[in-house]
Amino acid sequence: MSFLNKILPNVMPLWSGDGGILQAIWQTVYMTFWTAVVSGILGLFLGFLLILTDEGGLLPNRPVYFILDKVVNIFRSIPFIILLAVVYPLTRLLVHTGIGPTAALVPLILGTAPFFARQVQNALLTVDPGVIEAAQAMGLGPWQIVFRVYLREGASELVRVGVLTIISAIGLTAMAGAVGGGGLGNIAIAIGYQRYQNDVIWTAMILMLILVFLIQFIGDIIARKLHH
């Protein structure tokens, strides 16, 4: 213990309690989890809509595709740190505060869902169009093809892009943390960086890396299970 106190002089007192590192870990996990769940559902829906309404898709619809495609592009083009500021009024409206992990969810979801939608679209493009045609020839309707062909044949690719998206969302939580969202990003910047406590910065970074590796590891196992 004294050894840890020696090499991490600023970390140990900061470990528990309100505003401590344990709480920050929890906040980061909380933000990542809910961003993943909500963006996952939204992105999956939008990604499928893009695939289905695209020219040559199962439900081609030029206006819907055009608008969706542009909206996704625009949201993906806004730097996240600016998106945070831009949606601040919306955040206040929805959660009645601009501070804390729940408030951070609003920009996190707006930043992540379009990114995931594009990833889903690309993942589904890897499904062999011949298999889709075969399913049509067998008399399956568009929704049956979504659930029984796209989701099944694209599953391992969807897991892969899902992991990619969650990891990118963890990065965004750090940025959201820096402007009042809490979490490990907040610890690293507001305490570590601004008070010149390098051991705090390093600890926050290593904890985030552990989180990333954990998610990558689990994702790889699932993707491998799904791939034949």
Binding site: D128, G130, Q136, A137, G139, E153
Partner: protein
């Protein structure tokens, strides 16, 4: 009277691209009768794939009418169309199996939601038995050879007990031996189940092996069609002749024959000819008759006899020697007996 099971009437398919529009299918009429194995042959880009996709409306025609199994397909709503599609099986060049499902799951795929688990299991077993893959039920497509994958494709296509099977270049990705085995399987399904098959291919060989009717497509049109035997015996279009000659490898034979001294130093009035004959004419001892009755000797340089739908189909390349008068009488006799004579010297002169 044969029952028309597929009737395509004045089918036109236009693909509009940015700069131009492509006339993929150009005013095609096609009638397929129940029990037919109808071959549609043509080079890639001729419009065959587009044409057969009109049958199950995977491709909607720009104009024309489509009647399949007595249904006006274009009049159906989406749900009714899906129901009709279950009566039309389809197999593909690249098999189009789902890699995430086992062989048995692929075959069961069209049945899910329509039958009980036990019924599906029994049906799948029966189908895999039928295509000779009963022992690979739990394998994934990645573990199968091309021929085995196509067998799974066939079993899957047959799962909903269709009356029609569309084969879209189903053997084009397979080696010759496997191709032949798959074609035999299709033929046996035609005979056993009364399945009507529409087979598109760029290989006349495949058509020759199992089809009773054939249509030749070029640039979106059917340029020649008829019974297999008639088309082989008396092709009219240049493209049809090319397809047949490629299959019989006659071009190579003629080239080799012309190298021989007996042909190179041909003396007038001797003639180098190709005799094509079918069925009954074969039974007559042709060469002997020519010598005995017309005093003409036939020196056979190349001979090929194939069995098409149980009927012998022969091609001989011979040098006929005799007096000019005897040769004239010989040609008249041959024409009377349905032996097609092609003068190979004349062909060369013309070129």
């Amino acid at each position: 009277m044969a029952e028309a099971i597929i009737t395509l009437n004045q089918i036109d398919v236009l693909f509009k691209e940015k700069a131009r529009s492509v006339h993929a299918v150009d005013h095609v009429d096609l009638t397929v009768n129940r029990g037919d194995v109808y071959g549609i042959v043509g080079y890639s880009g001729a419009g065959k794939s587009t044409l057969v996709r009109v049958i199950n409306l995977l491709q909607r025609p720009t104009t024309g009418s489509v009647t399949v199994l007595g249904q006006d397909m274009l009049a159906l709503d989406a749900k009714a169309l899906r129901g009709e599609r279950k009566r039309i099986g389809m197999i593909f060049q690249h098999f189009n199996l789902m890699n995430s499902r086992t062989v048995a799951e692929n075959v069961a795929f069209p049945l899910r939601g329509h039958k009980s688990k036990a019924e599906i299991a029994a049906k799948v077993e029966e189908l895999l038995e039928l295509v000779g893959l009963a022992d690979r039920a739990t394998a994934y497509p990645a573990e199968l050879s091309g021929g085995q994958k196509q067998r799974v494709g066939i079993a899957r296509a047959l799962a909903s007990d269709p009356e029609i099977l569309i084969s879209d270049e189903a053997t084009s990705a397979l080696d010759p031996k496997t191709t032949s085995a798959i074609l035999d399987l299709l033929k046996s399904l035609n005979e056993k189940l009364g399945l009507t098959i529409v087979l598109i291919t760029h290989e006349m060989e495949a058509v020759k092996q199992i089809c009773n009717k054939v249509a030749v497509m070029d640039a979106g049109r059917i340029i020649e069609r008829g019974n297999l035997l008639d088309i082989f015996a008396k092709p009219e279009q240049k493209l049809t002749k090319d397809f047949i000659d490629t299959t019989l490898q006659l071009d190579a034979a003629v080239a080799a024959v012309k190298q021989q001294p007996a042909v190179a130093n041909l003396k007038s009035p001797d003639r180098l000819v190709r005799l094509t004959y079918l069925g009954a004419s074969t039974d007559q001892p042709l060469v002997a008759t020519l010598y005995k009755d017309f005093n003409v000797t036939a020196n056979i340089l190349f001979g090929d006899i194939q069995i098409l739908q149980g009927t012998p189909f022969g091609n001989l390349i011979v040098v006929l020697s005799g007096t000019a008068a005897d040769l004239e009488r010989t040609f008249a006799y041959l024409a009377q007996n349905d032996v097609t004579v092609l003068d190979l010297n004349a062909k060369e002169d013309a070129q």
